[in-house]
């Protein structure tokens, strides 16, 4: 008896899923959008910057015109910095205000003379601190570069003490800290989430606006089956697109080395899609019209994307935000994607993330099923 009813349920789900896929196939503009986000979108996002500090715009005020100042000027080059522009001292404020450069170095008059005289002259680094991503990192790079040049210049001329402890830093998993390794994967993740929610949520609204949902509900089909079919159809589409994108775009065109297991990542992606599509359906039952759906989408998707740890580090967020974001599937997905794809983590270390995704997905799934019939009744 139970076996038979399970079989009917399964056959319903297969039928309804086929129907959903056919509908999607029919909408060519939507398909084109899906293809674009997983190809061109990923490519442009990944290749926009190759390192964290990349082509940083820098200007130098050289009031010294000495061999040393020339040496410092020559030390800045790509890919970290753009070729420095020489500007006058009275230009410093205007160019910073206009946002033309992130960094302006000021080498004072008599700098070389004072260095050689051991007078410890000061070299000024002006930083546009509103450019958070470049400011801090760039400051460190500039200090390293300038100290290196200074030390080389004075070596043999002045006594400089050797460092009593050597510091060796190594970056695991991404030795040269290439941004596109990170950017491409995070872009896939954010596309997966956005599409999953849009496809399912909007599909629910559309079925309701066209009256087809009502039609389904008078047939011997359970809301669970309808919801499952929508989750499956959108989930499979996006999973396929993401998988292809990972193989062809990320590994192929962008040549990002993937250390971990792609199948394990795809299992994680499938779980994430379960959660995100369920969330989409839930939103679809809450919104009464497509414009409302659009607003709800923005209200949920922006925090999901920006606070998941995929853009800025999770540790830096206030505790309360970190705690709340534990309820978001993206947080777990970003974390497991980083673990699997970069750090080659295995099942034993990331299973809690899988469990969390499953739990979040189930909550939204059942909430969606419960709201489903009610939302039709009051539409």
């Amino acid at each position: 008896m139970i076996g038979a009813s399970l079989r009917t349920s399964l056959s319903h789900v297969v039928l309804l899923t086929t129907k959903e896929l056919r509908s999607l196939w029919h909408d060519k503009v939507l398909l084109a959008l899906i293809v674009w986000v997983f190809s061109g979108g990923i490519y442009s996002a990944a290749t926009a910057t190759s390192q964290e500090l990349h082509n940083a715009p820098i200007a130098i005020v050289d009031n010294d015109h000495s061999p040393l100042s020339q040496q410092i000027r020559d030390a800045f080059y790509g890919p970290y910095f753009k070729t420095p522009e020489l500007i006058d001292f009275d230009q410093v404020d205007p160019v910073l205000y206009a946002g033309r450069y992130t960094f302006v170095l000021v080498i004072p008059d008599g700098f070389e003379r004072d260095v050689l005289a051991g007078k410890q002259p000061a070299l000024q680094i002006n930083i546009d601190a509103t450019r958070m991503s470049q400011a801090g990192i760039g400051d460190g790079y500039i200090r390293n570069i300038v100290s290196g040049e200074l030390n080389q210049f004075v070596s043999g001329q002045l006594p400089v003490s050797e460092l009593p402890i050597e510091l060796v830093t190594r970056n695991k998993y991404n030795p040269n800290l290439e941004s596109h390794w990170f950017g491409s994967i995070m872009e896939i993740i954010s596309n997966v989430t956005m599409l999953a929610i849009i496809l399912t949520g909007a599909a629910v609204i559309r079925e309701r606006e066209h009256g087809t949902l009502e039609h389904l509900l008078v047939m011997p089909v359970r809301p669970t089956e309808i919801v499952t079919a929508k989750v499956l159809a959108s989930g499979l589409t996006v999973l396929l697109a993401a998988g292809l994108s990972l193989e062809l775009m990320v590994k192929g065109v962008l040549a990002v080395p993937i250390h971990g297991s792609v199948p394990l990542f795809l299992v994680g992606a499938a779980l994430h899609l379960f959660a995100a599509t369920s969330m989409g359906i839930f939103l679809g039952t809450v919104a009464r019209s497509m414009p409302q759906m659009g607003l709800l989408l923005i209200l949920t998707i922006l925090p999901l994307q920006l606070l998941s740890g995929g853009i800025t580090p999770r540790e830096s967020m206030p505790d309360i935000v970190q705690t709340i974001m534990l309820a978001a599937p993206t947080t777990h997905f970003v974390s497991l994607a980083q673990s699997i794809l970069y750090r080659a983590a295995g099942w034993d270390t990331i299973w809690p993330r899988f469990a969390a995704l499953l739990a979040i997905g189930s909550v939204f799934f059942f909430a969606a099923v419960v709201r489903f019939r009610r939302s039709v009744a009051f539409a």
Partner: protein, 911 residues
Amino acid sequence: MNTAATPVVRVTGVAHRYRDIPALRDIDVDIPAGVMVGLIGPDGVGKSTLLDLIAGARKVQSGRIEVFGGDIGDQRYRDRIAPRIAYMPQGLGKNLYASLSVFENVDFFGRLFGIERSQRHRQIDELLEATALAPFRNRSAGKLSGGMKQKLGLCCALIHAPDLLILDEPTTGIDPLSRRQFWELVDRIRGRRAGMSVIVSTAYMEEAERFDWLVPMNAGRILATGSPEALKQDSGSDSLEAAFISLLPPELRGEHHALTIPPLASATHDLAISAQGLTKRFGDFTAVDSVDLDIRRGEIFGFLGSNGCGKTTTMKMLTGLLPISAGRAQLFGQPVDAGSMAVRRRVGYMSQAFSLYAELTVLQNLELHARLFHLPETRIPERIDRLLARFGLSDYRDVQAGQLPLGIRQRLSLAVAIVHEPELLILDEPTSGVDPIARDGFWELLIELSRQTGVTIFVSTHFMNEAERCDRISLMHAGRILVTDRPQAIRDAAGGVSLEDAFVEHLKAVAGTPAADTDRALSAIDGDAGTPDAGAPFSLHRLLGYSFREALEVIRDPIRLTFALLGSALLMLVLGYGISMDVEDLAFAALDRDGTPASRDYVQNIASSRYFVEQPPIVDSVELDRRMRSGELSLAIEIPPGFGADLKRGRSPEVAMWIDGSMPFRAETVGGYLQGLHLQYLTDLAIRTLGDVPTLTPADLESRYRFNQDFRSIYAMAPAVIPLLLMFIPAILTALSVVREKELGSIVNLYVSPATRVEFLIGKQLPYIAVSMVSFVTLLLVTVYVFDVPIKGDLFALFFATLIYVVTSTGLGLLVSAFTSTQITALAAAAILTMLATVSFSGLTDPVSSLEGPGRIIGDNWPATYYINIVRGIFTKGLDLGDLSGDFRRLLLFPPVLTVASILLLRRQGR
């Protein structure tokens, strides 16, 4: 008036096709002026297409159509004569706006035709009076009954006093009383406005009797033309219906014969449907008021009543779609239970609205439903073939349901409802818009189902001849059942009149006679109502008309408005707090292979900084690897054995730092921190051991963090979130507002009115610009007062820049709407296309000048790039208009480009 000499419409050699399906084949006809002309024929024969073409709502594909003597295919001519034509498209209230009130709907149409305010208001009052809609002037159009919607549609069409009135199936799906009132109204209007030409299409032959001149159509061709009498005479038949059938090609005529209904075997007293005191309340509105129903098995039970009287609601409660407010209902002796699968399999339901999957083909729709109802796989092909044949769908089996003409779709819905051979059929107006032959064919099937297989049929209808065929009928009005009996008994009780008259009497008894003094009231339409700018190429009037209507719709949707205003403030709070570029509290642990006080001191130095939080120490390299792999540690410090001893002897021991590089930004920042902490430690160590500071570098490097001395990311981020939010929300709302009209059909008002694309698009854009500006003020307040980020620069310049920016982002929404046709695609396109560019390529985190490749190109041409620069400049750098003139100049380029592109891409006519 010389009707014969100058036809109002002259159609020459017109053919039209939708993709591969021909709708009109080589039509030639001259339609006389000043009379009432009827296009008659079943659905799907091309009536609507022909009317669309005459009204200018569709582009003429081949041939030529002259209206008032000029070519309607010529855009400029069309704009000039648009005020002389009024068009009411097919479908109840299709060109009305559901959330607007009766008054506001007519008012909007008045604005579109540039009628000046006081005149407009006077005319609206008169029209509403004449159509007896005056008591409902503040009710929203979506809540009107079908008959009232059509009257409102007529008011909207008549507001500009047209010379040619085109009505596409105006009475389909309306109850007999409303239908009668509608035609009386049209007659009186024609009486007042002599010389007005009216072209009507209808599937009701009895209505066509009252028209002056008829154009029977079939399969995209015109069968004949002439007055009803002439047509009847030519074919030698006594009714129009018979005359029409005789005009059809023989192969279509063949099957038709009069229906005979065998009497119902009265032995059974089993009840299929039983309801007592069934009641449904929506809020304080009672839609169904204690209805009692007892329907025996095998009975054909008819349900009549005006639209909106509660028929559909009753049916929905019986199918379990709507919860019951009070009373009880049983199907086959079991209480109606929304969850019961067994009962659903015994019931077939066909809803009033077309509810099949438009993207699936006819065959796919039938197969889907057959399988969902568990027909044995082996029987499905045979069953479907039989249904296809029975319903004349064989030619359409591979056509998508959405492409079918209305009547054919209706047949498909029917076929779907009975695919699983249910015991009880609940059919909500199944034959609305279906031609007489198909209707008879359908009833033949119903009778067969009832009499031969004992299927119970509960059917609602507006057709009296269908009501006559039922075993019993109920008349419903305003949620109550007025009478239930055999049709003959009802007629006898009313004194032997026709069933229609009997019903009209019943309805009048409860509804009261509508107090409409038409003749006095209709002076409005006597003269030329249009003002001189009615046909002008651009009119601010019409533009503001669109704005006003859109604004009303936004205000009527409080949820949308609240989200748009407060939602952005809420997001601002969440993102402002959440997005932080400050890297702090990173987890680290040490693998201390030395274990001396010196090594512990070094680790302590790292642990005491605010950037790092120490975790339990690491035991060996395997554990180091495992803990970093799991993401638990962002940093591991490895101190070699003999560290303390080497340090003492000046042998420069090496400390190794392992940084998790999977998030490059974090890794870079950590690297910077470590350099700093290391040097600091060495300096401290030197002071402690040597007592003075060694020279580590020969010069001091002074870093000056400008504009944000504390290097707090909130100063940089809060202003940057404003551009983000003012991009998405306006773009999505504007895109949806246009595509919504396309999807729901009201875009036809743009096609047939003198309104231009510029007026339509900019008119729709204005309210969203206003909403966005209000939203900007809330964002500003949150930034300044909640996040304590002061505005150092020119506030006026900030407002000015924001205005240009929201014009741009709403303009982007318009552009998206131009190439999308469904709301789902518009939503996806607007979200996807704006998200990546704004978040990644416009300088939110990395400055655009550091980008390369396609990202750089997008960033350089994306409005947010310049706006972010302006907002940050004004907030943190205290700049003014002059300092930012470059960014302003670039930003100002976007609105005109976007507007022109959207206008060029928007179609001015249907295809």
